[in-house]
C-alpha cells in the first residue's frame, strides 16, 4: 500500500511537470495556432539559466529569474521568427521552425553546459522528509506542488479578470474579430508566447531539483505534455492541467505493478480517450476538427 502511495505520489509530481508544460503549450496553441516543438528547449533554457544563477541569486531568486530570462528569450524568438509565420495559414511551417529551434537549443545547451548531467541544488531545509512513514514527501516536493498550484490559479485569475486575459480568451475564439476591435494582436500573441515559455522554464527549474539537469531533459517532458493537451482537450487550459495530472498519476501507479509499461500507459490512455471521446476530456467540440 505504501509502495502504491509512493509511486502515485511520484507520478503526481511528474504530472505536475507535465501540467505546467501543457499549460504553456495550450496557451500558445490556442492563441497562435503554433505547436511549439521548442517548448522542451525553453524548459532546458530556464533550468540551466537558473542553475547558473543560483550561486548569485540563491535558490529562490534563480527560481524566478531563470524562467523570466527564458521567457525573454522566447519573446525574442517570437518577435524575430515565429511572428513572420502568422500570415501563413498552414501550421506546418511553425512546426518545422520550432523543431529546428529545439535541435539548436539542445545542441547549444550541450556545448555550453556539457553533455554530462548536472545536479541542481535544493536548499537543505527543503530536502528533509516531512514524516518518517512517508519519507518520500519532502518539503521540496510540497513546494513544487504549491508553486504550481499558485501559478495555475494566478493564470486563471489573469485570464478571467484582467483586460489582457479577456483579450487572450477572446482571441482563442476569434482572433480576427479581436483585431477588428482595435486590439494589437501581434503584441497579444507575443505576450502570450512569453508567458507560455515562462511556464516551460518554471517546469524546468522545478524538475531539475528532482531529475537533475541534462540537455535532453526537455524532450522527455515534451511528448507527455502533448498527450496531456490531447487527453485534456485542445482549447481547454483546465483540461491541459487535468490531463497532465491524470497521465502522471496513471504512469506512477503503473510503475507499481508493471514498471516497463509506465511510459506506454500514457499513450494508451490517449488512444482510449481518442476513441471514446475524440475531443478530449474537457475539449470544446469542433475546435481543430
Amino acid at each position: 500500500m505504501q509502495l502504491l502511495f509512493f509511486n502515485a505520489f511520484n507520478g503526481l509530481l511528474q504530472g505536475v511537470f507535465y501540467a505546467l508544460m501543457a499549460l504553456g503549450l495550450a496557451l500558445i496553441l490556442s492563441l497562435s495556432s503554433v505547436i511549439n516543438m521548442a517548448h522542451g528547449g525553453f524548459l532546458v533554457i530556464g533550468a540551466y539559466l537558473a542553475f547558473t544563477l543560483t550561486p548569485y541569486l540563491g535558490f529562490w531568486g534563480a527560481l524566478i529569474v531563470g524562467p523570466l530570462l527564458g521567457a525573454l528569450i522566447g519573446l525574442v524568438v517570437e518577435q524575430t521568427m515565429i511572428r513572420r509565420l502568422y500570415k501563413r495559414p498552414d501550421p506546418l511551417y511553425s512546426l518545422l521552425l520550432t523543431f529546428g529551434l529545439a535541435l539548436i537549443i539542445q545542441d547549444l545547451a550541450r556545448t555550453i553546459w556539457g553533455a554530462q548531467g548536472l545536479p541542481a541544488s535544493v536548499p537543505e531545509v527543503l530536502n528533509q522528509p516531512l514524516s518518517t512513514t512517508y519519507f518520500f514527501i519532502t518539503g521540496y516536493r510540497m513546494v513544487i506542488i504549491a508553486i504550481t498550484a499558485t501559478v495555475a490559479i494566478g493564470l486563471y485569475l489573469l485570464l478571467r479578470f484582467t483586460l489582457v486575459g479577456v483579450r487572450i480568451r477572446a482571441g482563442t475564439r476569434d482572433l480576427e474579430s479581436v483585431a477588428a476591435l482595435g486590439v494589437n494582436i501581434y503584441k497579444l500573441r507575443a505576450l502570450n508566447f512569453a508567458v507560455g515559455c515562462f511556464f516551460a522554464g518554471l517546469a524546468g527549474v522545478l524538475a531539475s531539483g528532482i531529475l537533475g539537469l541534462t540537455p535532453p531533459m526537455g524532450d522527455s517532458l515534451l511528448m507527455p505534455s502533448f498527450v496531456a493537451v490531447i487527453v485534456g482537450g485542445v482549447g481547454s487550459l483546465g483540461g491541459a492541467v487535468l490531463g497532465g495530472l491524470l497521465i502522471g498519476v496513471a504512469a506512477g501507479i503503473t510503475t507499481t505493478y508493471y514498471p516497463a509499461a509506465s511510459e506506454a500507459v500514457i499513450y494508451f490512455i490517449m488512444l482510449v480517450v481518442l476513441v471514446i471521446r475524440p475531443r478530449g476530456l474537457m475539449g470544446k467540440e469542433s475546435i481543430f476538427e
Partner: protein, 320 residues
C-alpha cells in the same frame, strides 16, 4: 531551372537522367566522395519520404509521426530474421505488412482530424511505438537497439545471390522502382485525384457526398505501408535497428526533407532527402555541433524557401 522545364520533352529528359544516375550510382558515388551505403541510405529515406508525401503533400495530412511506421518496418524485418526465418524477402514482406497494418489500424483515430490536431495526434501516437521498442527489451533489444541479425543471400531457383553492399543497393533500387510505379499509379487513379481534391478543399469534397475520412484513412495506410517498406530496407542495410528509427526527431527530419525538396512535386521528396542526408553525413563528420546546423537549415528553409527547391523552380518556370 529554365522556362523550358515545364515542357514534356525536357521533363522526360530529366527523368531519364535521374534513372540513369540511380542505376549507375555504384560506379560513380565513390568518385564524388560518397560510398555505396550512402547511396542506399538516400534511396531508402527517399522512399520513406515519397511514401509519406502521399499523405502529406498530396492528401494534406500533416503527419508528424511517420518514423513510427518506418521503425515498425525495421523492427519487423529484424525480428523476422532473428526469430523466425533466415529469408531476406520474407523479412521485407513481414516488416512492410506490419507497418502498413499498424497504420491501417491507427488511421481511424486521425482520419477526421485536420491541421494542427492531426499533427499532434500523429506525433503522440508515434511515441507509443518508441516506448514499446525501448521498454520491451528482451525482444527488441531496448535502448541498445536490435542487433544479431543479418541480411541473407537471395535464393533465385537453384542460384544463390549473396547480398554485398553493391548488390544490396540494386535490391533497394528494385524495391524503390516497384514502389514508385505503385505510387504513380495510385496518384493518377481516381483515388489519387480525390486525395488532391481533399487537400485543396475538404469541405467541398464532402458536399459532393464523398466520405473524405475514408480516403484520408486510405492515404494514411498507403503512406504507412511505403514508409514501412523503406524501414525494412534500412534495417537490412545496417543489419541493425534502434529506437532512434522510431523517434519523433526522425519524423521531423522526414517532413523537413519533403519541404526542402518540394511537397507538391512527386520527385521533390527524393531531391530533398538526397540533400538532407548528404548534408547530415558531411556536417556530422566535420563538427560535433552538426545538430545546430541542421536546425539552422530548418529555420532558413521555413523563413526563406517555404516552397522547396522544386516548388521554386516550377514557379520560376511559370513566371517566365
Amino acid at each position: 531551372m529554365t522556362p523550358a522545364a515545364a515542357s514534356p520533352l525536357r521533363r522526360y529528359g530529366i527523368l531519364a537522367a535521374l534513372w540513369l544516375a540511380l542505376i549507375t550510382l555504384p560506379w560513380w558515388i565513390n568518385r564524388v566522395g560518397g560510398y555505396s551505403a550512402l547511396g542506399s541510405k538516400i534511396l531508402i529515406y527517399g522512399l520513406a519520404t515519397m511514401g509519406l508525401n502521399i499523405l502529406f503533400g498530396f492528401t494534406g495530412g500533416l503527419s508528424f509521426g511517420q518514423a513510427a511506421y518506418f521503425g515498425v518496418g525495421a523492427y519487423g524485418a529484424g525480428m523476422t530474421l532473428k526469430y523466425l526465418a533466415p529469408s531476406t524477402p520474407l523479412a521485407i514482406l513481414i516488416g512492410t505488412l506490419a507497418g502498413g497494418l499498424a497504420a491501417a489500424i491507427l488511421g481511424p483515430l486521425v482520419m477526421r482530424r485536420r491541421g494542427i490536431y492531426f499533427a499532434m495526434i500523429t506525433i503522440a501516437i508515434g511515441q507509443l511505438f518508441y516506448f514499446i521498442a525501448v521498454r520491451w527489451d528482451n525482444v527488441t533489444g531496448g535502448e541498445d537497439g536490435l542487433a544479431g541479425f543479418e541480411r541473407q543471400p537471395l535464393h533465385l531457383g537453384s542460384y544463390t545471390l549473396p547480398l554485398d553492399q553493391t548488390r544490396f543497393y540494386f535490391l533497394v533500387l528494385l524495391c524503390f522502382t516497384v514502389a514508385v510505379i505503385l505510387m504513380r499509379g495510385l496518384l493518377r487513379s481516381p483515388l489519387g485525384h480525390t486525395w488532391v481534391a481533399i487537400r485543396e478543399n475538404r469541405r467541398r469534397v464532402e458536399f459532393l457526398g464523398v466520405r473524405t475520412d475514408l480516403y484520408v484513412w486510405a492515404s494514411f495506410a498507403a503512406a504507412g505501408l511505403i514508409t514501412a517498406l523503406a524501414g525494412t530496407l534500412n534495417a537490412l542495410l545496417f543489419n541493425f535497428t534502434s529506437p532512434q528509427d522510431l523517434h519523433w526527431i526522425l519524423s521531423g527530419d522526414f517532413v523537413m526533407m519533403i519541404v526542402l525538396g518540394g511537397m507538391r512535386n512527386f520527385w521533390g521528396p527524393l531531391l530533398g532527402t538526397a540533400i538532407f542526408v548528404v548534408a547530415q553525413d558531411y556536417l556530422s563528420s566535420i563538427t560535433t555541433n552538426w545538430m545546430s546546423f541542421i536546425g539552422l537549415i530548418f529555420i532558413v528553409i521555413v523563413l526563406a524557401f517555404p516552397k522547396g527547391l522544386l516548388g521554386m523552380a516550377e514557379r520560376g518556370a511559370r513566371a517566365a
